[in-house]
């Protein structure tokens, strides 16, 4: 019997060696992405089909607040395994830039995209975008009490009824940094401490904010358009508000792609970037997860917000990333003293 097991063991191992060798192909591109797999995967499948390049993807998890991939990229910097990083926001792309992990690439396809959404050193290119919104539970919030500005959230009537995701991570961190840039440090800090005084709930993620509002744990919370859109698709009794339409505006967060420095498949990487930022991809993302196209001339499907109709917060993405670094310690303390 032990001989049988031994032979079985050898067979499995050789099967693996075979598997791992046979999947090595030269015409491939490795894409790491922090964009939710449900939305990213269909795009990558189309990319593979239409360009003939084998796409190998590494996706991220909600559990690790979509930072696993970025950590992996940083750790792999000495010997990059990845060609293209597709991020859901410019924060991560800026981290790569600062750490010298990405390299400039100016795509011809990017011409239709406003310069405003492209890194001025061309380390990343923005395309479809999300926005930060307020999501509220229609059953709980009376129609005359729907907040319309960030500043409303510190009012007494919302005490203990508002959630934001952990401001150290992801789009929330960027949002807070943008608020600091827009309001100035002093006002922004006051706003945060007022929020704390108002017993704001710190959720683990934007998805968690969405969930807690959907099931009526709380009245409302800050989240991204894609999460809000998902809640509506699930039939939850929620409404969406673009905050700050009468003051600082709503934060627009583009997807970004970066080319990794010394990437193993450089040529394919550029092809993949061109594909990702194309109008076709932007249209697909608009349909699948209500992302607002950035290229001019992409038809906006029904139910998807259009950039023309939203008052956008004026942000310099590069500076905001620096701001974020500056305020991180403050935010960490803010979170710690809150829990």
């Amino acid at each position: 019997m032990s001989r049988c097991i031994f032979i079985l063991f050898l067979l499995t191992i050789s099967a693996f060696l075979f598997l791992s060798c046979s999947t090595q192909s030269s015409d491939e591109v490795v894409i790491y992405t922090s964009v939710d797999q449900v939305f990213a995967e269909p795009i990558l499948k189309d990319l593979q089909q239409e360009t003939g390049i084998t796409v190998k993807a590494v996706f991220d998890t909600e559990e690790t607040k979509s930072t696993g991939v970025l950590n992996r990229l940083i750790a792999e910097a000495a010997n990059p395994q990845c060609d293209v990083f597709w991020s859901g926001d410019p924060v991560r792309a800026n981290v790569l830039k600062q750490k010298g992990i990405s390299e400039p690439y100016q795509s011809k396809v990017a011409e239709g995209i406003p310069a405003y959404f492209i890194d001025h050193d061309k380390h990343w290119t923005g395309f479809s975008s999300r926005a930060r919104v307020l999501i509220y539970n229609k059953n709980l919030v009376p129609s005359d009490k729907i907040p319309s500005s960030l500043l409303d959230l510190t009012k007494e009537e919302y005490k203990g009824k508002v959630a934001i995701a952990n401001p150290l991570f992801g789009t929330t961190s960027f949002h807070i940094a943008a608020i600091f840039s827009a309001l100035g440090d002093e006002k922004a800090k006051k706003w945060l401490s007022d929020l704390k005084a108002n017993n704001v709930i710190i959720a683990t993620s934007n998805g968690d904010v969405k969930k807690r509002v959907s099931n009526g744990e709380i009245w409302c919370g800050l989240t991204d358009t894609d999460d809000a859109n998902e809640a509506i698709k699930e039939g939850a009794p929620v409404g969406i508000v673009f905050l700050g339409q009468s003051d600082i505006g709503a934060l627009i967060i583009p997807n970004t792609v970066s080319l990794i420095k010394n990437s193993p498949n450089g040529v394919n990487a550029k092809k993949a970037i061109d594909y990702l930022i194309s109008k076709e991809t932007q249209l697909k993302l608009a349909k699948s997860c209500a992302q607002m196209p950035l290229s001019k001339g992409v038809e906006v499907p029904q139910g998807v917000f259009s950039l023309d109709k939203v008052k956008a917060m004026q942000v310099n993405y590069d500076q905001t990333s620096k701001k974020l670094e500056e305020i991180q310690n403050y935010l960490k303390e803010w979170v710690e003293n809150n829990s």
């Binding site: 019997m1 894409i31 939305f39 991220d60 099931n215």
Partner: protein, 520 residues
């Protein structure tokens, strides 16, 4: 086993799994080529110590609760007149088969459904509660193995003098002391290094802070310095265990009075039955019911969709987990042998290092060590996954096997060598068959851990490799709850049936091979 073989194996293991960690820890001591202890000195501050305390508190609470529950259920499974023991054995394992994050989500959903206020739900108490439920099955496994091996004669002798309750506390418990400490130590380590449950419940512990250092500040050296605190905690745990176990005589299993004795509880079976059913309802049915309710909300197509997402992963994950578990059982056995037969105590400390380290740190260590052009043949292939599995879980297998090995009288092996059997033959014909039950146990546990591993693998898996937990957790972001729940149920059903299949096959082999001899 040949000493040279064992030493070569240890060296390979050190090169593959220990050096990555050591070099990472070592590297965190330096900045620009000079020794710089700032990161470590920074540990001595109020906040870190507070987190450390919180981690210890949760770890201690969970390990004691789980061990007590595990002892109780181990006793029910082995010594009571509980009907349908096989069924309960499988049911009790289920919490180990669900990812801990999913279990936490399910319980929170249940509490919200009950209308409990958020302040109560997102708390230390819930974290302890959920972690206890998750790790109790491990304790059950450890104790059923230990109780099974108690010589009925020892119990019988004591029963002549006093009642069963006294016998339990004065004879049985001292006899299974090694199992008690194994259970306490393993579960303590598992719960202080667990990240997803406290993170989801917004309970600040050391691992969540390490995570923040990694993922918000990209401050690797501080994160690594903090991780070294976790390792230190585990080493202290190990030393305490050593001290407490130092004078324990190990019981041995011999020929005749081998069969386990049932406790002379009154013939009434309803007490254990009620207990078992109550616990099963509580710990298994509730989270399962939540998952089922959630997935049903998405309709029948939801299951087809979930299945289509997981189709490729089911097969691949199974292959990976089985191979991984086989490797772990094999290496674990070698180390158990080194420890038990050659009394190499340092092995514990070596394995502890790999087990205690948070999974993200382990991932970073593997990347730093293996991601070079020369070792791409490991890093860019499934080999890296097996190394990660081995690193994370070989300690558990080694513990289970060692517990059994020290109960096996060495004279059985001596008798074989006297008859002319060399090391290899003795191992194959005598030691391995006698260890088969424990090997199977180690294999099963390793399989369960491997098929669920996420934290390290997600850092290192070669792009394009399809593994179940990765797929579930990457899909989970922004997928409807119904889909996530359906995927979890499919995976649960799949792993349970695979385990059922393996155990069934094992029974058949055992019946054919050892017609009469039966470990139980």
């Amino acid at each position: 086993m040949k000493r040279t073989y064992l030493i070569v194996l240890s060296l390979i293991f050190i090169a593959l799994a220990i050096l990555p960690l050591l070099s990472l820890l070592f590297g965190s001591l330096f900045r620009e080529c000079t020794i710089n202890l700032d990161n470590y000195i920074g540990l001595i501050q109020g906040r870190t110590l507070q987190l450390l305390l919180q981690s210890i508190l949760i770890g201690v609470a969970v390990c004691f609760l789980s061990t007590i529950l595990g002892l109780g259920f181990g006793f029910l499974l082995i010594k009571s007149h509980l009907p349908n023991k096989a069924l309960f054995k499988v049911l009790l394992l289920i919490p180990l088969l669900l990812p801990s994050y999913i279990t936490a989500v399910a319980w929170v959903d249940f509490f919200v459904f009950l209308g409990i206020s958020s302040a109560w739900i997102y708390s230390r108490v819930t974290a302890i509660f959920v972690l206890t439920l998750i790790y109790t099955p491990l304790a059950v496994l450890i104790f059923s193995a230990a109780l099974q091996n108690i010589n009925a004669g020892l119990e019988g002798a004591a029963l002549l003098i006093t009642n069963y309750r006294k016998v339990f506390f004065t004879i049985i418990l001292p006899l299974i002391k090694p199992a008690v400490f194994s259970s306490l130590l393993l579960i303590f380590i598992l719960s202080i290094s667990e990240f997803s449950v406290p993170a989801f419940l917004s309970v600040d512990v050391l691992t969540t802070d390490i995570f923040i250092q990694f993922s918000a500040f990209y401050n690797y050296n501080v994160a690594i310095a903090q991780s070294s605190l976790l390792i230190l905690l585990c080493v202290i745990g190990l030393i305490i265990e050593r001290k407490l176990l130092a004078d324990t005589p190990f019981l041995t299993v011999t020929g005749k009075s081998h069969h386990s004795r049932l406790a002379p509880v009154p013939q009434a079976t309803y007490v254990p039955l009620a207990l078992a059913i109550g616990y099963v309802l509580f710990s298994i049915i509730i989270p399962l019911a939540v998952l089922i309710a959630q997935s049903l909300a998405g309709g029948r197509e939801n299951f087809y969709k979930a299945l289509s997402y997981l189709w490729v992963e089911l097969g691949q994950s199974l292959l990976f987990a089985i191979t991984g578990a086989a490797i772990i059982a094999f290496v674990g056995f070698s180390f158990a042998y080194l420890k038990a037969r050659r009394s190499y105590g340092w092995i514990d400390f070596m394995l502890m290092l790999t087990f205690a380290i948070p999974s993200v740190v382990a991932g970073i260590a593997l990347i730093n060590y293996y991601n070079t052009p020369f070792s791409n043949f490991i890093y860019a292939t499934p080999a890296i996954i097996f190394i990660a599995y081995l690193m994370r879980f070989v300690l558990v297998a080694e513990r289970i096997l060692n517990n059994r090995l020290i109960q096996l009288p060495q004279s059985l092996e001596h008798a074989a060598s006297i008859c002319g059997a060399g090391n290899y033959l003795t191992l194959r014909k005598i030691t391995l068959p006698l260890m088969s039950e424990a090997l199977m146990g180690a294999f099963i546990i390793s399989f369960i851990f491997c098929i669920g591993e996420l934290g390290t693998i997600i850092m290192v898996y070669p792009p394009g490799t399809a593994l179940l937990p990765i797929k579930i957790f990457t899909i989970m972001a922004n997928a409807p709850q119904s889909l996530t729940s359906a995927m979890c149920l499919i995976v649960l059903l799949f792993t349970t049936s695979v385990l059922g299949g393996i155990l069934g096959l094992w029974q058949l082999i055992k019946r054919a091979r050892f017609m009469v001899y039966d470990g139980s």
